[in-house]
């Protein structure tokens, strides 16, 4: 009985990977492969043709470059902006603390699409709409990561901070030199989550992007996948460009992710 249950679970898990298998094998075939009535799971020989298509026509390497740049900068900037705030909330008392916290928490309840028009408007008003920063700055704050880091910082023992204060260290130094090493693992985890969120960010970039040099991978992929074009092979290869790097990043960080407890939904 136990064996059957394990096998069923394992089978289902493998099934979960089925779409990815589809992408890998499909990228070596031409478009008709996905829709012919015969199942053919062997690799084909269209890989080069598909690659040329995405490389020359859709400039996918620029997209990859942009995506990496945007995701890296967003994740870094986010940590730099969010962590001090989370630290301040967890280790200090000050006026308006409760009200500010309520404000931040309430913003989670407001779904981002509700303010979609307003967000686009703000991006244009600030004048960053033509640069990649339009994909970075609006996504720097992430209230879930903020709450997560705040709760984690509560576990830093106060005595260590007090000792550092007595030794004459200033607050910024304390935060960087003492508290960060304490929660370094969780910071790696937060960095990873922020990176993935930014990597897969689709809606705002698609609305705002003004051309090739500003395209990130999601935009390019959805352009190739346009129902009018019907080029499945090219789409799948482009998808590989998006999936492989992020899986690589995952395996680098996997030690931190799978051991951690509060890995709540990204967004």
């Amino acid at each position: 009985m136990k064996f059957i249950k394990s096998t069923m679970l394992l089978l289902f898990s493998v099934l979960v990977l089925f779409p990815l298998v589809f992408v890998i094998i499909g990228s070596t075939h031409d478009s008709s492969w996905a829709f012919q009535m015969r199942l053919n799971l062997l690799p084909g020989n269209y890989f080069l043709a598909n690659y040329t298509q995405v490389y020359r026509v859709f400039k996918i390497w620029i997209g990859l470059q942009n995506s990496i740049y945007v995701a890296l900068v967003t994740a870094l900037l986010s940590i730099i902006v969010i962590y001090p705030a989370a630290y301040a909330f967890s280790k200090f008392e000050f006026r308006f603390k409760k009200q500010l916290y309520a404000l931040f928490v309430l913003s989670v309840v407001i779904p981002l699409p509700a303010m979609l028009i307003g967000q686009v408007q703000v991006i244009y008003e600030i004048g960053i709409a033509k640069s990649l920063f339009a994909f970075i700055l609006p996504f720097v704050i992430n209230v879930r990561i903020f709450v997560y880091l705040m709760n984690i910082s509560k576990y830093i023992p106060l005595e260590v901070i007090e000792a550092a204060r007595i030794d004459g260290e200033n607050e910024l130094g304390i935060m960087i030199k003492i508290c960060v090493p304490f929660i370094k693992d969780k910071l790696y985890l937060s960095f990873f989550l922020l990176f993935v969120t930014s990597w897969n960010n689709f809606l705002i970039p698609m609305i705002i992007s003004s051309g090739t040099s500003q395209n990130t991978l999601p935009i390019i992929i959805s352009a190739i996948a346009d129902p009018m074009r019907y080029d499945v092979g090219a789409t799948l290869i482009a998808l590989l460009f998006s999936i492989v790097p992020i899986c690589g990043v995952f395996f680098i960080f996997s030690k931190h992710i799978l051991e951690d407890k509060e890995v709540i939904k990204r967004l």
Binding site: V16, L39, F202
Partner: protein, 293 residues
């Protein structure tokens, strides 16, 4: 000399009082600019009448008389309910089995986590190709003599959305539940070892009471997820057969970006914000036990 020292300490204490505000400043600035301002803009847009450019509630009237608006609400609710019904048992069973067997854990968790790395738009596109009537899934089913028309009926399309949603976040929630299971005291497990008990009994008396907070978390975030759903309907079904996969989020996108009717989309946004805020306040007692909020 002594007097100078006194002033020095007092100064430091005063400075220390303001330190947290400095730490908070960048975050607060970003928050105001990218969360506060959009809200204000959306509010302003929703109150402007397109034809006469004066403040009026005309946009809200237009929205509330649009049957597609109500349809999108119904769609979102249906998708949410089906999502919860499928997701929670799946996550619970997986988490419990993984808890029992360390081997399973090391193998299954990374496998189940990988879909969460793939963005929503990506698997929406993948699913679009996989589930067409001659797509790969039907090719496999053909071997067993079956054929399913996945996008045929409205409900099937909604099911597609649900499957995409479930698929994308399995790993994370299983991890979450698994870590909560670890916190159940061992003595309670031993009760079942000593007295014996069926699987269902164990579920009912042992796991579910302790996992209620996590389950509520899943429902809460699932709800937020369903409301914000835009990428998937956009890439997978473009609103679906007979507009059955138009979710609230997609309705906003349709009006705002596709048709360019900013004011209507903003009005919908404001209604949505009001609705979720009220819901949030009403369920405050229901969520009381969280360490998250």
């Amino acid at each position: 000399m002594q007097k100078m020292q006194y002033y020095q300490t007092s100064n430091k204490k005063q400075m220390r009082k303001y330190i947290p505000f400095w730490f908070l400043l960048p975050f607060f600035v970003f928050f105001v600019v990218f969360r506060g301002l959009p809200l204000i803009y959306t509010l302003i847009y929703s109150l402007i009448d397109t034809k006469t450019s004066i403040f009026s509630l005309q946009n809200f009237l237009d929205v509330l008389t649009d049957s597609l608006f109500y349809k999108s609400i119904v769609n979102t609710v249906i998708i949410f309910l089906v999502y919860i019904i499928i997701k929670i048992p799946l996550v619970l069973v997986y988490a419990i089995e993984i808890y029992k067997s360390k081997h399973l854990r090391k193998v299954i968790l990374p496998i189940l986590y990988i879909p969460t790395l793939v963005g929503m738009f990506a698997y929406a596109i993948m699913f679009r190709y996989l589930f067409t009537s001659s797509g790969l899934v039907n090719q496999v089913l053909n071997i067993f003599g079956l054929q399913v028309d996945w996008f045929g009926t409205p409900f099937m399309s909604q099911l597609m959305l649900v499957i995409a949603l479930v698929w994308s976040s399995l790993g994370i929630y299983i991890l979450l539940v698994h870590n909560s299971i670890k916190n159940i005291p061992h003595e309670l497990h031993e009760v079942f070892l000593i007295n014996g008990g069926t699987y269902l009994q164990k579920m009912k008396y042992l796991f579910i009471p302790y996992l209620m907070p996590v389950i509520k978390t899943i429902v809460f975030f699932g709800f937020l997820e369903c409301i914000s759903l835009i990428d998937v309907p956009l890439n997978l079904t473009q609103g679906g057969p007979f507009q059955s996969t138009v979710t609230i989020g997609y309705y906003i996108y349709l009006n705002g970006i596709h048709f360019g009717k900013f004011e209507i989309a903003s009005a919908v946004g404001i209604i949505l914000i009001l609705f979720t805020s009220i819901l949030f306040l009403l369920t405050k007692s229901w969520r009381k036990h969280y360490e998250i909020y």
